[in-house]
């Protein structure tokens, strides 16, 4: 059996497909839209429009980068407030044009920087949580790698949340947790086990709706299957009225804990 910490390692693996890979693999005709229209464009979150089959959708993805140069450019996939504000701007746009929103998440968390704090990292995340709760268009979030705390949650207020088999979703990194508990980051594997951060755990805790199997699948096979599942999901959910949609989304989170 794969241990919780082995899942963490797998989720962080540099060989794993990144957000951009999923945009390219799942959708066609992607047009990137930049900027929060307030301060800056955050390269840690990619947003834009694309087709899934023949349905235009708003697509958002955190992006870690592939090599040293792009990882630095993408700030290792840790967004600044502008990233969250850009995502909210594009979600509001999706609402206006009645497009579904697909969020692809792979982040260690929101960036812990001086500027990020000065420009309201907490406020930006809080606003996403609040606005996504009542966004009048379907939202699907898919955790493809790391789902790091509030920085991931800010893109995961959705009608359904799915996780890849080797993705993790946690309130704190196992290293951070081990550090607090035992002042010893080396004991992260133990902390990982306690935190219940695997896809299976999240499923049994009622935090996600679906686990996407990835073992033994090559990337294109995985993406074809995933694209099909997204289509099916949208077909079902698009029949709901905005009020029904929002009521169900509220209940989805209301029942946890």
């Amino acid at each position: 059996m794969t241990s919780a910490y082995e899942r963490v390692i797998a989720a962080r693996s540099k060989d794993r497909m990144t957000g951009q890979d999923y945009i390219n693999g799942l959708f066609t005709d992607f047009i990137e839209l930049h900027g929060d229209k307030r301060f800056a464009d955050d390269p840690a979150i990619i947003g834009g429009l694309a087709y899934l089959g023949n349905t235009p959708m708003t697509v958002l993805a955190t992006e870690k980068g592939r090599d040293t140069k792009s990882r630095i450019k993408r700030n290792f996939g840790t967004p600044n407030p502008e990233g969250y504000r850009k995502s909210l701007r594009l979600m509001k746009q999706a609402e206006k044009f009645r497009r579904p929103v697909i969020c692809i998440i792979d982040t260690a968390g929101a960036f812990c920087g001086i500027g990020a704090e000065e420009r309201g990292q907490g406020q930006a995340i809080a606003e996403n949580l609040s606005e996504m709760m009542t966004l009048k268009t379907p939202i699907l979030s898919i955790l493809i790698g790391e789902g790091g705390s509030g920085g991931a949650l800010a893109l995961a207020i959705a009608d359904e949340v799915w996780m890849l088999e080797n993705a993790v979703y946690s309130v704190i990194s196992p290293e951070g947790c081990a550090n607090i508990l035992w002042r010893d980051a080396e004991r992260a594997p133990e902390a990982a086990k306690y935190l219940k951060l695997t896809a299976k755990d999240a499923m049994s805790l009622g935090v996600v709706e679906r686990i996407i199997k990835e073992n033994g699948k090559d990337p294109s096979e995985l993406q074809t299957k995933l694209a099909g599942e997204i289509s099916k999901w949208y077909e079902t959910i698009s029949h709901l009225s905005p009020d029904e949609l929002i009521a169900a989304r509220y209940e989805r989170f209301r029942r946890i804990g």
Binding site: C112, A126, G176, A185, Y250, I256, G257
Partner: protein
């Protein structure tokens, strides 16, 4: 790695659950609280008169009950949901013992107290977080109590006042604690969309998942002087960027400058300001706009 360190800041507080209030409670006479800012020894017996504010302006940490006591009208507070307590949703080792210990030292059952009250005769719903209970960290019980309060206030078309102090999400409840950010945000949004007023009073420290959810979602954000308000802990930021932090980093005064707060209000004035804001948002009795002057 940056993210690993996010929760390092509340390390001591989370571990110890903050300073126990025993000093204040047990020996009123000879005990003094030394101000960390100016070094003055403030006799405990005199501190209540200044609402635990040193003459230099430093605000000592208050228990939730103390805050309720100076903010609300005498005997107007009616506690709700006091029986909701934390369980151990992810079977985290040592957590039940920790809770037991906290219940003894903090003499509270959870890290938030909810209820209704009146402030200068203005009725409102009120939650006050408890710093002496695991540093006001948010688990399922805190999330549930706050959510229920927002739902109650929405149903009864009441304004809601929230006093925050928190190290963030409660690690020992794992992903369930993270989900409380979503749950409370949803309830706060419904309350807001129904046209109700929500005022937050941010006190030292308000950080992590609480900042990134209901603390920042008020219509009007008031902070206590000198309060640390932020998402990541200062030490974590310092370790991440490997730079010295600017003066006043995450202090309320700097947050005000950056445009994230409506105002900073001293403890002695908070009751008056909040009651005035409540009055200004209460349903109009009879509209008395000044009539246009006639020539």
């Amino acid at each position: 790695m940056a993210f690993n360190a996010i929760f390092r800041k509340p390390k001591n507080e989370l571990e110890k659950g903050g300073r126990p209030p025993s000093k204040r409670v047990e020996s009123d006479i000879e005990m003094a609280q030394t101000c960390p800012n100016c070094g003055t020894a403030n006799p405990i017996s005199e501190l209540w008169e200044t609402l635990y504010v040193c003459k230099c302006g430093h605000c000592f940490r208050l228990t939730a009950r103390q805050r309720i006591s100076y903010l609300t009208d005498e005997r107007s507070f009616n506690e709700l949901y006091a029986d909701i307590e934390s369980k151990n949703p992810i079977s985290f080792p040592g957590y039940p013992e920790k809770l037991e210990q906290m219940r003894k030292t903090a003499r509270e059952s959870e890290a938030v107290i909810c209820g209704t009250a009146s402030i200068a005769n203005e009725k409102c719903a009120l939650f006050v977080m408890e710093p002496y209970f695991m540093m006001g960290s948010m688990g399922a019980a805190v999330g549930e109590k706050i959510t229920l309060l927002f739902e109650y206030a929405t149903e009864n078309a009441m304004p809601l006042i929230g006093c925050t102090v928190s190290g963030g999400a409660r690690m020992q409840e794992g992903i369930i604690s993270l989900m409380q950010m979503a749950k409370t945000s949803g309830a706060a949004k419904r309350h807001s969309d129904a046209g109700n007023l929500y005022i937050t009073l941010l006190t030292d420290p308000t950080t992590g998942g609480v900042t990134a959810s209901f603390a920042m979602q008020g219509d009007i954000l008031i902070a206590e002087p000198g309060a640390i308000i932020g998402f990541a802990g200062a030490r974590v930021v310092e370790q991440t960027v490997r730079k010295k932090l600017p003066a006043g980093f995450q202090k309320a005064e700097v947050m005000l400058e950056h445009g994230f707060l409506d105002m900073i209000v001293e403890r002695k004035d908070q009751r008056q300001i909040i009651s005035q804001l409540l009055k200004m948002h209460s349903p109009p009795k009879n509209t008395t706009l000044p009539s246009p002057s006639q020539s």
